[in-house]
C-alpha cells in the first residue's frame, strides 16, 4: 500500500520533459518533490506563477509570493508572475500539459466531484472546474475509499460534479488505474496489494485484463 508520498512518487513517473504542470492542493503538491532526474518540468500555480520553486528558507517568506494553496513559495530563475485572467488563459487555452488534483469521487466515465458536500461542506471549486474542463491530461490523486470505508471509484458520482468525462488516470494508495470507455482499467497494483483488495474497494466497473503488474517506484 502507498502512503501520500508514494502516491505522489508514482504520479511523478508520468511527468515528461518540457511539461507545464498544475498541481492541486494536498497530495498533488507533493508531486513536485519527485521530479525524475534529467527532465525539466515547469509548475504553474493558478494564482499567477509559472516556474514555481520550493518553500522558502525560514525567515525568507514573502507575503506576496504564495501558491494557490496560499502557502509561501519561491520563484525559480526564469519564472514569471501574471494575473488571474492570464493564468486561466493558460489553463482554458490548453497550454498546460498535465493537471494533478484530488477528488472526493470519480465515476467510471471520468466524471469528478471534489468541491461540495451538500448541507455539510462548501469550500468552493476554486480553479478546479476550469482545470478539468480544459486539461488534456488529468491525473487524480486520492484515497481509494473514504473515511467511512466507502469506495470513491463509483459507477456514478453522488456529490455535485466538478466536471464530466475528464479524468484520464487515477493513483490511489492501492492502485494505478486508467479511465477507459468501458470503465476503470487496472494498470498497476501498489506494492503488497492484491487484485482482490482493489476489486473489493472499487464500486465502479473495474477491468482486470490478465496479470496486473506491481508498481515500480
Amino acid at each position: 500500500m502507498l502512503d501520500k508520498n508514494g502516491i505522489a512518487k508514482r504520479i511523478s513517473k508520468e511527468l515528461k520533459d518540457g511539461y507545464y504542470v498544475n498541481l492541486g492542493i494536498g497530495i498533488p503538491t507533493l508531486v513536485a518533490n519527485y521530479v525524475p532526474e534529467g527532465i525539466q518540468v515547469t509548475f504553474q500555480s493558478e494564482n499567477g506563477l509559472l516556474g514555481m520553486g520550493p518553500f522558502p528558507f525560514e525567515g525568507e517568506e514573502d507575503a506576496d509570493v504564495i501558491n494557490a494553496g496560499k502557502q509561501t513559495v519561491t520563484m525559480l530563475p526564469g519564472g514569471v508572475y501574471f494575473d488571474s485572467a492570464t493564468s486561466f488563459a493558460m489553463i482554458r487555452g490548453e497550454h498546460v500539459d498535465l493537471t494533478v488534483l484530488g477528488a472526493m469521487e470519480v465515476s467510471e466515465t471520468g466524471d469528478i466531484a471534489n468541491w461540495k458536500i451538500p448541507g455539510k461542506m462548501v469550500k468552493g471549486m476554486g480553479g478546479a472546474m476550469d482545470l478539468v474542463a480544459s486539461a488534456k491530461n488529468i491525473i487524480v490523486a486520492m484515497q481509494h475509499v473514504n473515511k467511512a470505508g466507502e469506495s470513491k471509484l463509483l459507477p456514478k458520482c453522488t456529490l455535485p460534479l466538478t466536471g464530466i468525462g475528464c479524468v484520464k488516470k487515477i493513483v490511489t494508495e492501492l492502485a494505478y488505474l486508467e479511465v477507459t470507455k468501458d470503465g476503470f482499467k487496472l494498470l498497476e497494483r501498489a506494492p503488497g496489494v492484491s487484485t482482490e483488495q482493489i476489486k473489493n474497494a472499487t464500486l465502479g466497473k473495474l477491468i482486470i485484463d490478465g496479470e496486473i503488474p506491481e508498481m515500480q517506484l
Binding site: I66, D111, S134
Partner: protein, 233 residues
C-alpha cells in the same frame, strides 16, 4: 485641475453606501486592499454584494466584513478558509454564488473590457451551468457567462503614480489586474504613491485610465495565510 489623488481610504471611499456591489482584488490574503477593507468595517456599510476570489479568513480580509454582517451576498470561487463564512452559508444567513475561478477572472476582465458575455467550458455538465445557455463549438460544449455590473472596484498595487498607473509586485497581480476597471469607479490603494513620470512606462501593468481614485495606504500588515518553509540542510 482634476486629480485622482486622495488622502486616505476614508476619502477615497466617498460614495460607497449600503447595498452596493463591490469588487475586491486579491487572492487569499495576498494583495488585499487592506486599508479600504478596514475603512468599510469602520464606516459600517451594510448589505454589500462582494465579488472577490475568496472571503478572507475569520479575522482578516473580507472575513472582517462577514463578522460584522456587512455582506449580504458573496460571489467567490473558494471560501474554504473561513469558518464564519461556512456557518453563515449553511444557516442561510448569507447569499452565496460560487463560480469557477477562471470564470470569475474572465467575468472581471470582460467587465473592464466592455464585453457583455463569453463562452467558457468551465462548469459544463455541473450545477454551475444550470439555467445558462450552452453551445457547441468545434465539438466541445461551452456555457455562456456574463460580465459583472459593479458600483466600485477596489484593488491594491505595489506602486502607483498620480495618473493612476499601477505596478503590482510578484503574485499580487492575481485578481487585482483584471478587476482594475471592472467597477463603475475603480479605487486603487498602493504601498507607494509617486509623481507621474517616475514609473517606467514600459513596466506599468494597469494603465491609469482604468483607475479613478488612488491613495497610499497608511500601513500594510500583509498577513500570510500559511507559512511554509524548508530547512537549510
Amino acid at each position: 485641475m482634476s486629480s485622482k489623488i486622495f488622502k486616505n481610504a476614508a476619502e477615497a471611499l466617498q460614495g460607497i453606501t449600503d447595498d452596493m456591489t463591490i469588487i475586491f482584488g486579491g487572492f487569499g490574503l495576498c494583495g488585499l486592499p487592506e486599508n479600504c477593507i478596514a475603512e468599510i468595517v469602520k464606516k459600517e456599510i451594510k448589505g454589500l454584494t462582494c465579488i472577490s476570489n475568496n472571503a478572507g479568513v475569520d479575522d482578516f480580509g473580507l472575513g472582517l466584513l462577514l463578522k460584522k454582517r456587512q455582506i449580504k451576498k458573496m460571489i467567490a470561487s473558494y471560501v474554504g478558509e473561513n469558518a464564519e463564512f461556512e456557518r453563515q452559508l449553511l444557516h442561510g444567513e448569507l447569499e452565496v454564488e460560487l463560480i469557477p475561478q477562471g470564470t470569475l477572472a474572465e467575468r472581471c476582465r470582460a467587465s473592464t473590457a466592455g464585453i457583455p458575455a463569453f463562452f467558457t467550458p468551465a462548469g459544463y455538465g455541473t450545477e454551475v451551468a444550470e439555467g445558462k445557455e450552452t453551445r457547441e463549438f468545434n465539438g466541445k460544449m461551452y456555457l455562456l457567462e456574463q460580465r459583472f455590473y459593479a458600483d466600485f472596484s477596489i484593488v491594491k498595487a505595489w506602486k502607483g503614480d498620480t495618473n493612476g498607473n499601477l505596478i503590482y509586485r510578484a503574485a499580487t497581480r492575481n485578481f487585482n489586474l483584471p478587476m482594475a476597471g471592472a467597477g463603475k469607479i475603480t479605487i486603487a490603494e498602493v504601498e507607494e504613491l509617486v509623481p507621474a513620470g517616475e514609473l517606467d512606462p514600459d513596466q506599468i501593468h494597469t494603465p491609469g485610465i482604468f483607475v479613478k481614485r488612488i491613495f497610499q495606504g497608511e500601513k500594510y500588515e500583509k498577513r500570510i495565510e500559511k507559512v511554509t518553509v524548508r530547512s537549510r540542510e
